[in-house]
């Protein structure tokens, strides 16, 4: 964590260097390189099957790239396990909400604090003294997030019963509970209506500003992406075809041909 | 919240408690509960025994109006050969002041041994249960006549010696023990190991896990490889017919396969079909229906439709075993009445009656069991008697007598047994010293 903290806003937090990934014979990502700077909102876009989600999976250690390296907060690695990514401060949300369905909103967000909680097993047995104090301390933190995301009313509702838009919000809350340095959002607005999208955009911007969290997001809604992000990477068939500010990307002929030209 | 369910249970329990017929009419009759198992994986052996037990006692009620003029209150409790349910049965009957229990399961027996002296209810585990409980000095409340598993195993060795031409011929021979891989099955091992040392034969063990009772082919391949000269089968339930069939499959000579008395059910042998002809089993009572006692049962119980037995199976080996078991109970009660002069006897009385039980040839004849069984005598120190057994032979359709009554090697068994009893008492710290007075044999 200290490594990530030492990096100043604007400096490179994560760099993806010439990464390739293949499943059996199918190439999902081919020689992609880009970087994410601290405190920016970085979008990864591309048509379906462009390898966007695979890219996120590589970043947080679900997939191990066949080639190439990833450096995060100055440390370079080839293989990492997802929980190691978590310890280093990488959090994410999923395209299809991956909440803990049997638990309440609060418990889901509390689960995001797992790494920060370290009272021993003995105290956990008693749920008294230090263990309770720790629970309360983290509960307070989670309540801040609940307040931030305006989900007070569903605090104790099992997430399985929530509408989709709220589930996405809870999932964001769970990721925020990890106090991530880098937050990966996989289509945070998929399947939302206009109003929900506006809310979510606002939350993403607020997270970025309020907590200074670096955000990498995949999103289909071009309007949203252009509004939100500082810089955009465009992938197509697993290859990077463009990288730059929204304006630059918008003007890039390859992008127009490959992506914006096609109706989405 | 979880406690709420306890209350639910409690409420249910209250209903149960108020409705349980507690010590009903114990004064006018003698309460004899029978733990039986007509269900479960071992029902095959349980059903004929259960029928035999009930039918004999019912016959006494029908023919004689009970024992000594007092009706017997007979009640079956289904255990399914499951210790859990056995304990439930015990608790259920305990309140009704039974004069004796016979659990018919080694597991349940082990459970109840320590309780018998506490609850003052004697227990009869007829030729099963804990061999060591034959020591009346340590186990005043437990009776396991007429023979223990060790007697059985020793009788097997005796039988072999007879066939081979003397104990000295055993040297260098190879014996196999095919046994259920459970406490019951392993029981003969120490004795056989002792005898092996003494007589110089080799003992090979073939355990059958309970889950593999019907899947013994690998084991019998081992038998085929090792070629033991004789095999003793300490099996139970579905294990027996499978073993007999497998033995037949590897062409093992049937006359060299000897089962303990619990491997001597008609169904056990019948499964092997024609190939099972010659299969042997130890026994301490006769099979067949040609005894006055069985006739009486036929007349007074079965013909009146008061039995659950399939008529064709009356007189089968295990049916007769049930009859024999009940006979022991009845005789003990009768003896207790005689000693105490009371008509309605208690558990304590029956313990005394059991302890001084002597069933002579004459008495056997009186009760229509001449030739059915050997005389039985139980004493204060010897709760078993180590009575004579014989070898029964399957003739392809029924059990026949294949040898004379023979004494087990009591001298070999007894010391081992007393040591085991001592060991038991030592391991069970605080095991009570015998305080019960000793009655003279009647």
């Amino acid at each position: 964590m200290s490594g990530a903290d030492a990096i100043k806003p604007g400096e490179t937090l994560l760099s993806v260097d010439n990464v390739s990934l293949a499943f059996g014979g199918v190439r999902a990502i081919t020689e992609v390189s880009f970087d994410i700077r601290k405190s920016e909102i970085r979008a990864i876009i591309g048509p379906n099957g462009a390898g966007k989600t695979s890219m996120l999976n590589v970043i947080n250690g679900f997939y191990h790239p066949n080639e190439g390296r990833i450096s995060f907060a100055g440390a370079t690695r080839a293989r990492m396990k997802p929980y190691e990514a978590a310890t280093q401060g990488i959090a994410r949300t999923f395209q299809n909400v991956a909440l803990f369905k049997g638990m309440t909103t609060l418990d889901n967000i509390m689960a995001g604090r797992t790494l920060k909680m370290n009272r021993g097993f003995f105290w956990q047995l008693l749920r008294q003294g230090p263990a309770l104090a720790e629970e309360i301390e983290h509960r307070k933190f989670c309540e801040e997030i609940i307040d931030f995301l305006e989900i007070e009313a569903i605090r104790k509702t099992p997430v399985g019963k929530l509408p989709y838009g709220l589930q996405k919000r809870v999932e964001l809350g769970r990721a925020l509970a990890m106090e991530p340095t880098l937050l990966l959002l996989d289509e945070p607005m998929a399947g939302m209506n206009l109003e929900e999208k506006e809310d979510m955009s606002r939350f993403i911007i607020d997270v970025n500003q309020h907590y200074g969290t670096t955000i990498a997001l995949i999103e289909h809604d071009m309007g949203v992406v252009m509004d939100l992000s500082d810089r955009i990477v465009v992938l197509e068939y697993g290859r990077k075809i463009a990288d730059g500010t929204p304006a630059e990307v918008k003007a890039d002929q390859k992008v127009i041909d490959a992506y914006l030209g096609v109706s989405h | 919240m979880m406690i709420r369910s306890i209350a639910l249970a409690a409420a249910a329990g209250c209903a149960l408690a108020t409705a349980l017929p507690v010590s009903a009419s114990a004064q006018e009759s003698i309460y004899v509960p029978l733990f039986t198992y007509r269900t479960g994986a071992f029902a095959g052996s349980g059903i004929p025994i259960a029928n035999g037990m009930s039918d004999y006692l019912n016959m006494l009620n029908e023919r004689d109006g009970g024992i000594g003029g007092v009706k017997l209150l007979i009640e079956e409790c289904e255990t399914g050969y499951d210790t859990k349910k056995g304990v439930e049965c015990y608790e259920q009957v305990k309140g009704k002041k039974p004069v004796i229990t016979s659990p018919y399961s080694t597991g349940i027996t082990l459970q109840l041994i320590p309780k018998a002296s506490v609850d003052k209810i004697p227990m009869l585990s007829m030729a099963y249960g804990l061999s060591a409980s034959a020591d009346g000095n340590v186990f005043p409340w437990i009776f396991n006549p007429p023979a223990t598993y060790w007697d059985g195993a020793s009788a097997f060795i005796k039988h072999v010696a007879e066939k081979e031409g003397g104990l000295d011929k055993l040297k260098g021979k190879k014996f196999g023990l095919v046994h259920l891989d459970a406490p019951y099955g392993k029981e003969p091992i120490p004795l056989l190991e002792n005898l092996a040392k003494e007589f110089g034969f080799e003992l090979k063990l073939y355990p059958v896990p309970a889950a593999e009772m019907q899947n013994q082919s690998a084991l019998w391949l081992g038998v085929r490889r090792d070629r033991p000269d004789w095999i003793y089968l300490q099996g139970w339930g579905a294990m027996n017919p499978t073993a007999v069939k497998e033995a037949a499959k590897i062409n093992y000579p049937m006359e060299k396969l000897v089962g303990v008395w619990w491997a001597g059910g008609d169904d056990d042998a019948r499964g092997g079909g024609a190939e099972a002809k010659g299969y042997k089993s130890l026994n301490f009572h006769a099979a067949g229906a040609n005894f006055p006692v069985i006739q009486d049962i036929q007349k007074h119980v079965i013909d009146k439709g008061k039995s659950q037995v399939d008529k064709a199976k009356v007189g089968e080996n295990l049916y007769n075993r049930g009859v024999y078991n009940s006979m022991l109970i009845a005789e003990a009660i009768r003896n207790a009445q005689k000693i105490t002069g009371k008509k309605v006897v208690t558990g304590e009385d029956v313990r005394r009656g059991m302890e001084s039980l002597e069933i002579t040839e004459a008495r056997l004849k009186e009760i229509g069991m001449e030739g059915f069984a050997a005389p039985v005598k139980v004493s204060c120190s010897d709760h078993n008697g180590h009575h004579k057994v014989y070898v029964a032979v399957w003739d392809g359709s029924k059990w026949t007598k294949g040898s004379d009554w023979m004494e087990p090697m009591k001298d070999k068994v007894r010391p081992l047994l007393e040591a085991a009893a001592k060991d038991y008492a030592e391991k069970n710290a605080g095991w009570p010293k015998r305080t019960e007075a000793c009655d003279k044999s009647s």
Binding site: R139, K140, E143, I146, D147, E152, D206, H210 | -
Partner: protein
């Protein structure tokens, strides 16, 4: 007779606050559901915060007589800000938080506000947008940081920072503390305590100035009247700028030393009410009504047996409940049956509504239906009526325990004198009587008589029990062409007692006959529609449905029968009615912020309909502008059907 007369030093709220902090430092003063739990501040903590805030306010230049605007929902910070301003002898001016920018600008401008304490970014934005109209405004203090990170901080501070800053200063500098103490001690009963802007059924709002002494005296009287003490709890959910909230929660809490609880958010108020379980409760009749409607609707979906049980015991309660509540003698069987009902129905019902702990509840503001009123009372809730005004600092009359009726509002409150003018207008003089309308001497003179009585503008009379009965606004009571009396509100209220009717607007002054425009209640009629397989896509479609008309016609007919039974009102039976195609809405100016109908405005806005009501046509076209929630404007057009009613003969004789 006020309890504080013997102790002249306790004539301002800051003094009482200090007394509470000294006398009951550990007792809870204020709670708020926040971050999932009820954050609680004791009187000592609370007073410490008020002092710190006062110090910080002083640092912002707030001094005696300066106006401090308070814009936000019910939150501790807002109440502390009020107290802090009062501590400095400045005058807090609470403003309706949901007021649109224009309305708010008027109030802030009119009140010469120096600093504004607001809730969040939304209010900050509103105020910043009108900054050019408010030259006097020097600083804005906000409670919630969210979204304000990038704002220019020069004239903007978070309240938490101010409190911290004040606290630090007070800790460092004993002199600062003494200055605050001195300011508190210097406070006098005739200081202006607060300016409450009335929503006014017509025209611009007026700033009603209250004196500290009067406010304290009034509050002390009612605290004694209802035996309130520091074990009571209230839920502060009414608009902060409304006299009701300021009086019932803020003033009474400080006088009696009880705890006021603030809901987590307006959406969760109902849930929060249930959690807190107030012992003293106020709600306008419409709240009780919508609660009852919801109760009945929810019970409709219950199983047959449960429904039967429910209605059985409600009937039992109806028969005996009020008698038991009033301590009358009741047969033992009935008492037992009621007890069973309490266990099976009333207790759980009160529990789900959050009324379990209520000792005293009031309703006021408009007439309450007899059925509705006695429903709650029969459950064992001590619900009473009061009649009040901002100008009186709320209480004019209130009912004593045990002498409660639905059709009257009780005798004069303690230390209040009431007189009726010849044309029936109610006038009163009370300890809490207002000082003046801020910067509006004309209006003040208009309202305040020479001898210190306030003209309420309401027409009423005392009935034989000595309880006041209010008929209507004095100026609204009109006459039909025949000369018979026409009291529109009286008619409207009768109509509104039907759960299916949400609003009614009656016309008839100087006309041949009385007519009404109605709003159906979507929740109630919607549920009815569902049960009766009436399908509809919109409010408009439901409102115009023939079967809905049929049903409403029955209601109107019933009202006519009841009007016919009253000699003074029989002539004003409803001759024609229509159901409006849209809900009357405060955003469109059709209702006041306190949800009262603005009859004149409606008559203008729906002029074609009014014309049609009187020209005998069976339907009329109407096109109206509407304001959507996000501020966009649009228009709806509709053709509205008008129904003729049969009028009953006056039953004076028969009755």
């Amino acid at each position: 007779m006020s309890t504080t007369t013997g102790q002249p030093e306790l004539d301002t709220f800051p003094k009482l606050y200090a007394r509470n902090a000294a006398q009951r430092p550990e007792r809870p003063a204020i709670r708020r559901k926040d971050r999932g739990i009820w954050q609680t501040w004791s009187w000592a903590q609370s007073w410490e915060i008020v002092r710190a805030l006062a110090h910080a306010f002083a640092g912002l230049g707030v001094g005696r007589g300066d106006k401090v605007a308070i814009v936000g929902s019910n939150r501790p910070a807002m109440y502390w800000a009020i107290a802090a301003a009062q501590t400095l002898r400045a005058v807090p001016v609470p403003v309706y938080a949901d007021a649109v920018a224009d309305e708010m600008a008027y109030v802030l401008e009119n009140a010469d506000v120096k600093i504004a304490v607001v809730q969040d970014q939304e209010q900050v934005d509103k105020i910043l947008s009108m900054a050019d109209r408010l030259p006097l405004l020097t600083h804005v203090v906000y409670d919630e940081e969210r979204g304000l990170e990038d704002y220019d901080r020069a004239r903007l501070s978070p309240v938490a920072a101010l409190i911290a800053q004040g606290r630090e200063a007070l800790a460092k500098d004993p002199e600062a503390g003494r200055r605050i103490d001195a300011s508190v001690a210097a406070g006098r009963g005739d200081d202006a305590s607060i300016i409450l802007y009335t929503s006014g059924t017509t025209g611009r709002s007026k700033g009603v100035v209250m004196s500290a002494g009067g406010s304290v005296a009034a509050a002390s009287d009612t605290v004694a009247f209802d035996h309130l003490n520091d074990r009571d709890e209230v839920l502060a959910y009414l608009p902060l700028a409304w006299v009701g909230d300021h009086y019932l929660n803020y003033a009474q809490a400080i006088v009696a030393g009880f705890c006021m609880a603030c809901p987590e958010s307006p959406d969760t108020a109902q849930q929060d009410l249930r959690e807190i379980g107030p012992t003293f409760y106020f709600a306008p009749p419409r709240v009780f009504e919508s609660l009852l409607t919801r109760v009945m609707i929810r019970m409709e979906d219950a199983g047959a047996l449960k429904k039967k049980m429910f209605h059985h015991y409600i009937a039992v309660a109806k028969q005996w409940g009020e008698k038991i509540l009033d301590g009358e003698s009741v047969p033992l069987g009935a008492r037992l049956s009621y007890r069973l009902g309490e266990w099976l129905v009333y207790g759980p019902l009160k529990n789900t509504l959050g009324f379990t702990r209520i000792r005293t509840a009031y309703t006021a503001g408009e007439a309450i239906g007899a059925e509705l009123f006695s429903f709650y009372r029969s459950l064992g809730i001590n619900l009473k009526q009061l009649y009040g005004q901002t100008e009186a600092f709320l209480y004019v009359t209130c009912q004593k325990d045990g002498e409660v009726r639905s059709d009257a509002v009780g005798p004069a409150a303690p230390n209040v004198s009431i007189r009726l003018t010849e044309d029936g207008e109610v006038q009163f003089r009370s300890p809490g009587r207002f000082v003046e309308y801020y910067k509006d001497a004309d209006k003040t003179r208009e309202t305040l008589t020479e001898d210190g009585f306030v003209k309420t503008g309401d027409a009423g009379f005392f009935d034989k029990d000595g309880q006041l009965r209010i008929i209507d606004r004095a100026k609204d009571v009109g006459k039909l062409k025949s000369g018979a009396m026409f009291a529109p509100k009286y008619i409207e209220n009768k109509l509104k007692f039907f759960p299916n009717i949400k609003e009614a607007v009656a016309f008839g002054d100087a006309r041949d006959f009385a007519t009404v425009m109605l709003n159906i209640d979507l929740a109630s009629v919607g549920a009815w529609a569902e049960r009766n397989n009436v399908s509809y896509a919109s409010y408009q479609e439901l409102a115009g449905h023939p079967r809905v008309y049929e049903m409403i016609e029955e209601h109107v007919d019933e009202v006519n029968r009841s009007l016919a039974a009253e000699p003074m009102m029989a002539a004003a039976q409803i001759a024609r009615f229509l159901i409006l195609h849209k809900e009357l809405d405060a955003d469109d100016g059709e209702l006041t912020r306190t949800q009262k109908v603005r009859r004149g405005f409606i008559a203008e806005r729906y002029a074609p309909l009014v014309t049609a009501l009187y020209d005998g046509s069976n339907n009329a076209d109407i096109r109206t502008e509407v304001t959507f929630e996000d501020g966009r404007k649009g228009a709806i057009a509709a053709n509205v059907r008008i129904v003729d009613m049969k009028r009953q003969a006056s039953q004076e004789k028969a009755a």
